[in-house]
């Protein structure tokens, strides 16, 4: 990356005496492999490289980006940003507060480095997964595997003297499977993600995992039973716990959303800025957002404003505890940033985002949780899901669920739907297991819509008296 262009950009910005200015340069070396029904349909290799300037001038915020690396272009984007900030004429001034400048560099080591990897190995891996599923002798007419590598170099500079350099790689695998058996179809999507090298491919155990998923779907097709609608004790697996933590704790606790900045797109929140300390759930409702978990898909050491990443308790023992904040939202809500500002790439502004969001584990084992249930449902994983734009009404359809009778897992369910309000959900949790498991996801927010890598996670949890239907 041409650091001198970035220096030139911040110096040009400072000439306009902004109350705050930052420059973020990013180069992403991207590789992508798409295998569809056993055929390599696409291999692409691209370099996305550009930079932006963000300026706070006269209390107005402007952002300008380019992928042309020249001093003239740098001056041009500063000029655009300056002009637009001056045009804005806001009634109330935006403030970013004051933070101490930081100089640091960080990187994530790759145990199995990409540069030492023969790319044909990646293709063979994908073909191996496809073959493993084909060898199951099931009818699987739709088998899509998409593998991506993003080698990122990033430099952030700001008007407070911060210069933060980062180097890391994120890898991801998306699978989308369609099974047809007994004149019925079942579909599932599964994603894997990691910050680091190709070592994750071994740790994911994709072949075994997807083979098992296919066999489970076959079992549901042939042996699935109907669920009588009614109130049940439900045991939710870590994947379900994780998505609920993300959707109905992480998102509603984003301060920019609470303050209305996302209202026309990603929506608002049922939480208000004075909700800290209010009860949201039972004592087991503890949700954490932590970007510092090594090699997690949502890992970062500094956010895109240069604030050090930190662990946050969003809900703590059933109480609303801490919002996700960046400098703008923190200043507006008279709080401090907690390093939650992220951008998908150089060409979008950083906004308040989650990282790795999870329900804190408890002290039960999964087996103990199930053993105690007289009449219930074990919802191991989910497929269709959604939540309203205040994050108050949520729905999760089981990908894999079973009846529990007298402490034993029985028949698989054809379909099981948990459609529940956010307070009801968090109030109904009565126990959680010791184990913590992660799922990778891409979280969408902002306009233009930005997808950032995250983990969702949790233990196995128990909810009592919850309405379920087919």
């Amino acid at each position: 990356m041409n650091e001198s262009i970035l220096e030139h950009t911040i110096n040009q910005a400072l000439k306009h005496n902004p109350s705050f200015a930052s420059v973020r340069g990013e180069t992403h070396k991207l590789s992508h492999y798409l295998l569809k029904n056993g055929v390599i349909e696409a291999v692409s290799s691209s370099v996305e490289s550009g930079y932006n300037v963000k300026m706070l001038l006269n209390g107005a915020l402007s952002f300008s980006s380019t992928n042309i690396w020249s001093k003239e272009e740098a001056e041009s984007i500063v000029s655009s940003a300056t002009k637009q900030a001056k045009n804005t004429k806001r009634a109330s001034k935006i403030d970013f507060g004051v933070e101490k400048g930081i100089k640091d560099a960080w990187k994530v080591e790759e145990k199995k480095a990409l540069r030492n990897t023969d790319e044909s190995e990646i293709i063979k891996r994908l073909e191996g997964i496809d073959k493993a599923l084909s060898d199951l002798k099931l009818k699987i007419p739709g088998r899509i595997f998409s593998f991506g590598i993003d080698e990122t170099e990033k430099i952030i500079m700001n008007s407070e003297g911060s210069i933060i350099k980062a180097n890391y790689t994120k890898i991801s695998l998306h699978s989308f499977i369609t099974i047809m058996e007994n004149n019925k179809s079942k579909q599932f999507y599964k994603m894997y993600g990691h910050t680091g090298g190709l070592e994750a491919f071994d740790e994911w155990h994709v072949e075994d995992d997807l083979k098992n998923e296919c066999l489970v779907q076959k079992k549901i097709i042939y042996e699935g039973v109907s669920l009588e609608p009614g109130k049940y004790t439900i045991i939710c697996g870590p994947e379900v716990a994780g998505i609920t933590a993300h959707e109905s704790s992480g998102h509603p606790m984003e301060a920019d959303r609470i303050l209305g900045r996302e209202l026309s797109q990603a929506g608002g929140s049922f939480v208000t800025i004075d909700s800290i300390g209010n009860t949201i759930g039972s004592e087991y409702a503890t949700v954490v957002d932590d970007p510092t978990i090594p090699n997690s898909y949502g890992y970062f050491k500094y956010d895109d404003e240069g604030t050090k990443a930190q662990k946050k308790y969003l809900y703590k023992n059933g109480k609303i505890n801490e919002f996700l904040q960046n400098r703008e939202s923190a200043s507006k809500s008279s709080m401090k940033t907690n390093g939650s500002s992220r951008a998908e790439s150089y060409d979008v502004e950083d906004i308040v985002r989650m990282s790795n969001t999870y329900i804190e584990p408890g002290d039960w084992s999964k087996e103990e949780l199930i053993k105690e249930v007289k009449k219930g449902v074990y919802m191991k994983s989910f497929t269709e899901w959604n939540i309203d734009d205040k994050r108050f009404n949520q729905k999760y359809v089981a990908r894999e669920a079973y009846l529990i009778v007298n402490g034993e897992i029985k028949q698989p369910l054809n379909r099981c739907v948990l459609e529940i309000s956010t307070p009801n959900y968090w109030k109904s949790i009565t126990a959680s297991s010791k184990e913590l498991e992660w799922s990778a996801a891409t979280c969408g927010k902002g306009d233009p819509e930005q997808g950032v890598p995250v983990f969702t996670g949790g233990p196995t949890i128990r909810l009592e008296g919850v309405y379920l239907y087919e």
Partner: protein
């Protein structure tokens, strides 16, 4: 670098690769100059300016394909990337499905580029006009976005097609609130700035919010739905994305096995056509095939998937000129108008809901169509032809195939919409009435 140079560069990259033995080469350079104003709480949050230059080169040799892409203007780098890509071809297995790229000289319609969009200086005035109009109508809080898009594309193919395309558009999205529970949303997507009426967009959003008084918890059940263009546009965008042959054959579509089958009533026709009225207009696809009108839903019958040259060959048809560099995709959907109006639809409804917008559509199964989506903004209960009260907290939990079959009325008036990720593929849609739709709610 001037525009002629970009056309020359495309040709240069194609020649460079063909000299190295690559059989099919397409070079595509795209330059964009986009701007956006984001606003909320009646004021402007940020103004964004984006300038980008992207070069993509598609290479195919011995039925093996690779795409290499580079951003920016650093000369010489593309040739290096082409060299790397050619080297990589040796490790890529043959694609038995490969059917080549569009061949021969092509004639394109002249591109249409709106001067008033290109010359726009002050985006703030447009936004202030929309905000003030909504406030004057009684809204208490207004949020939204105003986009200005300017795109120039240059293409050169080793198989003959070459050309330049230039297009631009504006979109304004306004969401107005009377209070946190009562909101209305309206968008306007236009190929010319002079066609955008920001005051009307603000006013319409505020009117909906004002009508949506004291919503109470809705009830589960089966209802006839009347969908405003934002909601209908979201459904149409979902359906259009399922027309790509590439994804349909992998089961990601309710149309996977429905060629020439009746999937909707006789009066429902939908087609893909990125013509000059479309905000996503273009004159050629990514292979250089001239854009054409493709009726994929003809009087209720699903007639064709959307194709590039490769998928068309597999289905033994002509390309529909919907090529991307990897897969065919829809560019712009038109829904043919009906003969009704919103008022007539309400009058015809015994037990139904009028819904303004939706989001978060997700599928249990894209092949069978089981899905749900969550209405947002105003929801009105209709009983015996009249709006009775306002609802909140409900969800559409049904099947998109059934909803397509159960379209009952379409309005004469149509609206061009594009909004965020929910109406991702822009479209021109009427109001729609869809009968017998299942509504669920949280417990």
């Amino acid at each position: 670098m001037n525009e002629k140079n970009y056309e020359d560069l495309c040709e240069k990259y194609v020649n460079y690769a063909t000299k190295k033995g690559v059989e099919d080469v397409i070079a595509l350079i795209e330059e964009t100059n986009d701007m956006q104003v984001r606003f909320s709480n009646n004021d402007i949050d940020i103004i964004n300016n984006w300038h980008s230059l992207n070069t993509s080169v598609y290479l195919s040799k011995d039925d093996k394909q690779i795409i290499t892409e580079l951003e920016g203007n650093e000369s010489g780098k593309i040739e290096n990337k082409i060299d790397e890509a050619i080297k990589k071809l040796s490790i890529i297995p043959k694609n038995e499905n490969y059917g080549g790229i569009a061949k021969g000289e092509k004639k394109y319609r002249p591109y249409y580029y709106s001067k008033d969009i290109e010359d726009i200086q002050n985006l703030v005035d447009v936004v202030r006009a929309a905000i003030n109009s909504a406030l004057n109508e009684g809204a208490k809080s207004v949020a939204g976005t105003f986009y200005v898009y300017n795109t120039t594309r240059y293409l050169h193919s080793s198989a003959g097609p070459h050309g330049k395309d230039k297009s631009n558009a504006v979109t304004l999205s306004v969401r107005a609130f009377m209070n946190p529970e009562s909101s209305g949303h309206w968008v306007s997507a236009q190929p010319q700035l002079s066609m955008l009426k920001p005051e009307e967009v603000g006013e319409k959003a505020a009117q909906i919010a004002k009508d949506y008084k004291n919503p109470k918890e809705g009830k589960e059940g089966i209802y006839d739905l009347i969908l405003a263009p934002l909601f209908g546009g979201s459904l149409v965008s979902n359906l259009a994305s399922m027309t790509s042959a590439f994804w349909a054959e992998a089961g990601q579509s309710i149309f996977s096995n429905k060629l020439n089958e009746k999937v909707a009533p006789d009066f429902v026709t939908m087609y893909d056509y990125a013509d000059d009225n479309a905000i996503s207009r273009r004159i050629f696809d990514d292979e250089g095939s001239p854009i054409k009108k493709t009726i994929w839903l003809d009087k209720g019958v699903y007639k064709t998937h959307l194709h590039n040259t490769t998928t068309a060959k597999k289905y033994n048809v002509e390309t529909t000129s919907n090529a991307g560099l990897i897969d065919p995709s829809p560019f712009f959907t038109y829904v043919e108008p009906g003969d009704s109006s919103l008022e007539e639809m309400i009058a015809e409804t015994k037990h139904g809901l009028y819904m303004v917008n939706t989001w978060y559509s997700r599928y249990t199964n894209m092949y069978t169509g089981e899905f749900s989506t969550i209405p947002r903004d105003a929801i009105f209960l209709i009983e015996n032809g009249q709006i009775k009260e306002s609802y909140k907290g409900i969800r559409v939990s049904d099947n998109i195939s059934n909803m397509l079959k159960n379209i009952n009325m379409l309005s004469k008036d149509r609206y061009q919409v594009e909004w965020w990720g929910e109406v991702e593929i822009p479209c021109t849609v009427p109001y729609m009435k869809i009968n017998n739709v299942r509504i669920t709610k949280s417990q």
